[in-house]
Symmetry: D2
Subunit: 480 residues, 4 copies
């Protein structure tokens, strides 16, 4: 895998998507469409496993959903059956190898078992070592496989009860969809960190990471799967249980800021609306005189529109995005500065020359992109450049399935706002406050004793304790 | 090539891009970056040929620039030399085969000759038949190869004079870049239909289809290459000549409407600005009471912003675009209607529910997409749906290098505006007038005796007579 | 895998080869050469795993050794370390999938463990079901993986003791080579059914399925590994133990007849010599007046030479073999009969026209090839065609790692010699007698109470009881 | 192409094969089978083009016939039509690129034209330069393309007359098969250097490089195509003409020694018989006391059998060949000498230990293999090693389509027989005399004034003058 061919990324990265259908003769087709709508949550690899009541059928591959399941490939034709689950992968754990692509499948004592997982287990490494010590063979480097081994070792007979056995040993954030002879099983961690919604199309049930996965197939949204809830869907219909004691909900607030697609609805809030509200709050908190509000496309657009609405300063596209970006190029040594950023963005001088510009972006992670964008806008003739950020300063890494840099690389972990402003070269810089963020989400503010969301990346307040293995290496690693 | 895997397209399609650099040790790197910035003009295939003074070096492949020339591929490392030309291909003529990917290269009597071409020759088939009759072997199915054969047969000695010989026999629209032992040669057809600009970075000269190709490498824009002009760049610097008598300029007006990147400047007009002006004119011509102006993203955005500016009706994103689209999926039979359009677009109900909506799009070609988008917006709760189009009705196909449907598939060729409005199900529909379009481009209106642009797709007024071969087929075609 | 592209085969098929080196900085290079010399034992896939004291390095792939490990591939350069094991695969169990290619590698509690296996476990399916019932996840469909799971579950600490634990639970025929932090481990089943020899080159030890694997690297032959013996080679040198009680040796007699390379020496007998002796015995048992002795090349050559020596009838090549065969072609419907056999063999009419011909072949399995060859020789002008077979009638399938048809497809299971003669159309037919075969191997005859070889394919006298699973299928199979 | 992965070869190399069928609905199937039988004449690449009366259909690829046209590939199914031609390529001119694989196809003025060629044009480079100077574009680096350009430029109307026009300008050795709207055309150079035979199956005609290509499909041999003859086969049947004045036949004598398959009949002589006769002559000319006659397999076998027949010394296999060879391996530095040769051959000590051995080989080219084989036989315990060679000393390169080393690398060009004997370390060495070779072919001896064969590689007597281009390089080469 030419993973050195990827563009270095200066943002938090989407994690993964899961999707599942039970009760349609076109389960796999629906799953492919749902995964396509969820492509923004993972582009490295994708896979679908279907079940026809007798046999499982699967295809997994690197690349986008469209590349793996387009009509010309023929893969979808083979995925027969009334039930299917699928997964988009953005690697958080595990190497970019074919064996790490989900859904995972194993033949267990009760029959076939397929599993797809969005999230991250905080005690996976400890569980993995324990399993190896007692004779389990690991075929992948993902924490997802740990769950399957725990299911395989359970003394329960029903697949669903075995899964409960397994998840009681596991800590972390997860939204799971499984296929078994018992039907489709969906499960969400007790804190409900990662999203999972339930829908219906005709007689079939659908589970999806986001509602945009329901929209694309014309399915109706029923409700969010609840924290700690297990849903089983089979020929007898849908049953819900609560095998894991639910904790106070700590849904990931960054889903609203950046991860989710703007047309999705999560935990009863419209993502696009939330982002515009963030823009409103941000404008109220940190107004500045200016001539134009310019979003960093595409993630900064709704907040910028909200900011413009609140301030009545014109909104315009001062930065044009090239959607074909995605790989690292050799950078010429004799070119002007900022070639890197121009791979993805170019200033639209018409909209910024001679103007006082407010740039609105969703977040600042390392700050490297911000520097380049500010320079680019100044080069294009802006007289003032102000930056407004639609999230609080990101000071802590995520351990729940989001790809974040180490803490020392988070600029806000070591600099305050005025130092960052100086570093990136803006005339003024403001982040939305943590309480402003909560207000934009219809709270009166953050409850410090019982925060309504997981906001650990801004506060360091981790609902589930992150753990690390002792790191002892054995003489057992096989190089690729 | 799984060309059946492509999404059926309901728009005019970008044609091709050309790029060239002379005088930089990083000529190929610059060319790759330039082609990346011009990726919107052709995504099927790409290629670069470089020249080190002794030997030519090349790589051509299907797919995007980033897939072919990323740092991991190693291809760019081999493209040594101080000069390079490159091409992005969207197939207008020729099958999707490797041998049809440009730049073309041949060893001629004077040495190596490489050529990349944006446009279409209207007399290519006749020239091809004549060449075959007199003993030339054709290795591709493109009209570009015809030019090389004419160069090969010229009795002139200099490559540039041979190229002039060739282009005097050719009719059509073209912007060419060539590499020869005599240097880099660029040439534009006498009407200047297709764009081509000249720039400079350090001591090196650059030619590019659009200015965004200059921006990405930090090159300075010098000027547009003139209609009928030939530019030769070599160790002696740049020389310009006018071997083909220039005709009154007939630059393609659709470049402003849709093809060009919004941050490019063409023939002294900023594309983004032109699009906003079109929105202004459109609003003046066909105002309607409404609650929100919604662009069909991304191509409808600038005109929608202009429309909103002019009318003071709020601009909002009522349609969310999935940028990962690009392949045909199997469509489920049991899904709700409109799955096809939802592959690419989804309604953002928050922005349209309960509102009178004006949708702004760049053009209507077949009308199939418009029907689906209107239905989608109505399903999302809009109370009224009006459509405003940033171009006049497209009634005629293009013969100058743009992929357009046959005339009978152009909805505006057989229906008037009110019939189209009924067909696509809107409460009102308006196209910008042809004079309104010219006003948006700073003209007082269209000069019917000497139109300032090529607008044949709206008027049928073709500056260069389209020709067709007699179509006699011989026993000589080899199937793939 | 286009396994439908393979030629249907009318012979018993070679099984697998194993090879291992400890103590040379060029362990992997030697292993590749050794596997190349053993290519006749398996052509479907090949693999090598090396160990450098810290890490394991591996490459596995479909195709021949030369295709996977030639100098141009670069794979061998990465297989650093002083120890290596390798495997050639002809599939006996398991699908032709990459995950089934040996050597297998797993990270166990003590570190990395690699294993390559020639043979077949007769109780593998029962063990596999038991492992799955108690929570093991199977990643392949081979019986080899069963051994690794048993090693992983052993409560012993040393890898070698764990392997002994595992092999005590296993029944069947096997020659194993393993790599572990404890060194290279080789082991042979208690009956010594499959071959395994020990050699030395400089300070390094070598194990190989046949001596021809030693010859190619210039290693000296030390001795055969003994039935039930375990050999451990590491920095302390070589140690031998006998953890499994050896049974009376039952070495596979078919190795002498067909499987082994003629230049190998097995159990102190030269294979080429054994085959010529079989020819001598065959001639004594079933002499017939004739003009020429014609081998079915290549496997019938030594016996034919022996037959000619004994009878003083001239030996000549009446059949020419095309060594490029190996795939199924579409067969023309309008062609003469026998196109199939002509893919591999053609009559050499000069040597057979007008003559009484004795054809010598190694065995008759289905009889289909014999029919075609006899027809071909008659068409080429032979006046009489006699067939002499260098093995007794094959009446029973092998369960010890050889790919044989089901019993009902073995022609000798349902027809006596005269019926077969009539069926294949010869003037006379004779097989060597079972005692004649033993005499050719320097025995006075077969000891019916304690047969000196495994000859179950001729006698049905299986030294290890074949077992089958109950065949109950679960809802758990994943189609490819 | 990993051409560095090929084993360095110490023999003259087969050149190419051509095959064609007209008049069968299974023309392409027959062609694939014929090419398979002719695989020994070229293994680098293969191709078939068929014609259905309207369209041509083709597939070309690297690798063996079986890899490209096996039932699983589906390629053959698309090659519809009643006529087909095919080619196996061993590269003599042209790089190993796809565009150089034959048959070539072009659309000419009269329709499609496909051509496959065995041989070499001695004035190709001069013709190529002249064509380029006058405006032809070359798409390959083969001399075959030169013929097609000459056909394209001819002022004749009929394809066959155009081909005659072309071949009158060409010098060299060739056997051609072409497909055109006029039918299948076959042609042989005026000296008849390369073989070409005519056959019939049902109503269909077949042309093939050797008779073994007829045998495999059950076609009947009619006769050899005559030197300078052109055969046209179409719906009107077969017509023969003699457009090029035939010269005294100079058929390549090396076809009998090595190139042809032993079961083929060429120019009325059975190849296997000729090789045995050479063995007889060789024994008469250079008898030596010995215990065993050992062939270097496979090419030395018939001559060794003949030698043994004549001398009544036993024939035995003292060298075992590994048919899986074909790539270069990394050679271990610490291994014993001669690993290279052992990739392909191993001594069979049983047959040579303690014996006086006569090794019979077909030819000595560089001598490097001979040295290794002699050493190997001595190491295996031979008391004396004598070498007998079934051809005269090879002192000159071939310019007629055979891949031979430069003259300075031919050991017999610089050493006499006794020096070679000393160099390769044998107790005695003898080549067959040139007259002995002619006697084995039923001549009374070589006619020095009008040699009955082309034997230039032994005598330097070239029937067609070899020519070379002036070698002036232009600034026009494109590196790969």
């Amino acid at each position: 895998m030419p993973h050195d061919g990827k563009l270095p990324i200066d943002s938090f990265q989407e994690e993964c998507a899961v999707f599942g259908v039970y009760g349609s003769d076109e389960a796999a087709v629906h799953t492919a469409l749902g995964l396509h709508a969820l492509q923004h949550r993972g582009q490295e690899a994708t896979g679908i496993i279907s079940f026809d009541g007798e046999k499982y059928h699967g295809h997994r591959g690197f690349g986008h959903v469209g590349e793996n399941f387009d009509a010309g490939s023929g893969h979808l034709d083979k995925l027969i059956g009334h039930a299917a689950i699928g997964h988009n992968r953005y690697s958080t754990t595990g190497e970019p190898e074919l064996r790490n692509i989900q859904p995972f499948f194993s033949e267990l004592a009760f029959g076939g078992f397929a599993l797809a997982h969005n999230g991250n287990l905080t005690n996976a490494e400890r569980l993995r070592q324990s399993l190896v010590q007692t004779g389990s063979l690991m075929q992948s480097t993902t924490d997802t496989e740990v769950i399957i081994h725990l299911v395989a070792r359970s003394h329960q007979t029903d697949p669903a009860l075995r899964l409960v056995d397994a998840m009681k040993q596991v800590e972390g954030a997860y939204s799971l969809v499984c296929l078994s002879p018992q039907g489709l099983i969906a499960m969400r961690d007790p804190y409900g960190v990662r999203p999972l919604v339930l829908g219906q199309i005709g007689d079939a049930y659908v589970v999806s990471s986001e509602t945009c996965g329901l929209d694309i197939i014309g399915a109706d949204f029923i409700r969010d799967v609840k924290p700690g809830e297990m849903i089983i869907i089979n020929e007898d219909g849908m049953t819900s249980s609560q095998p894991l004691a639910p904790q106070p909900s700590r849904f990931c607030v960054f889903e609203y800021i950046y991860f989710a697609r703007p047309d999705s609805v999560m935990e009863n809030q419209h993502v696009y609306g939330a982002r515009k509200h963030i823009g409103h709050e941000l404008a109220r908190e940190s107004h500045v005189e200016a001539d134009v509000i310019v979003p960093v496309p595409d993630s900064g657009i709704p907040a910028a529109l909200g900011y413009a609405e609140e301030t009545h300063i014109p909104f315009d596209f001062g930065i044009i995005r090239n959607h074909y970006v995605g790989r690292t190029f050799i950078q010429p040594t004799d070119a002007g500065r900022q070639t890197g950023v121009k791979m993805k963005h170019n200033a639209n001088s018409l909209s910024v020359a001679g103007k006082r510009v407010v740039i609105v972006d969703d977040s600042i992670v390392r700050g490297t992109t911000s520097i380049k964008i500010v320079n680019m806008i100044r080069d294009a003739g802006a007289t003032e450049v102000h930056m407004r950020i639609a999230s609080p300063p990101t000071t802590h890494p995520c351990f729940y399935g989001v790809d974040t840099p180490d803490r020392e690389k988070l600029i806000a972990a070591s600099m305050d706002t005025s130092a960052i402003a100086k570093h990136i070269g803006v005339d003024s810089l403001a982040f939305i406050s943590i309480d402003g963020l909560y207000r934009a989400l219809n709270e009166t503010g953050r409850d410090p004793n019982a925060p309504q969301y997981c906001d650990a990346c801004f506060t360091g307040d981790y609902p589930i304790e992150p753990q690390r293995s002792d790191g002892k290496s054995t003489k057992g690693i096989m190089s690729k």
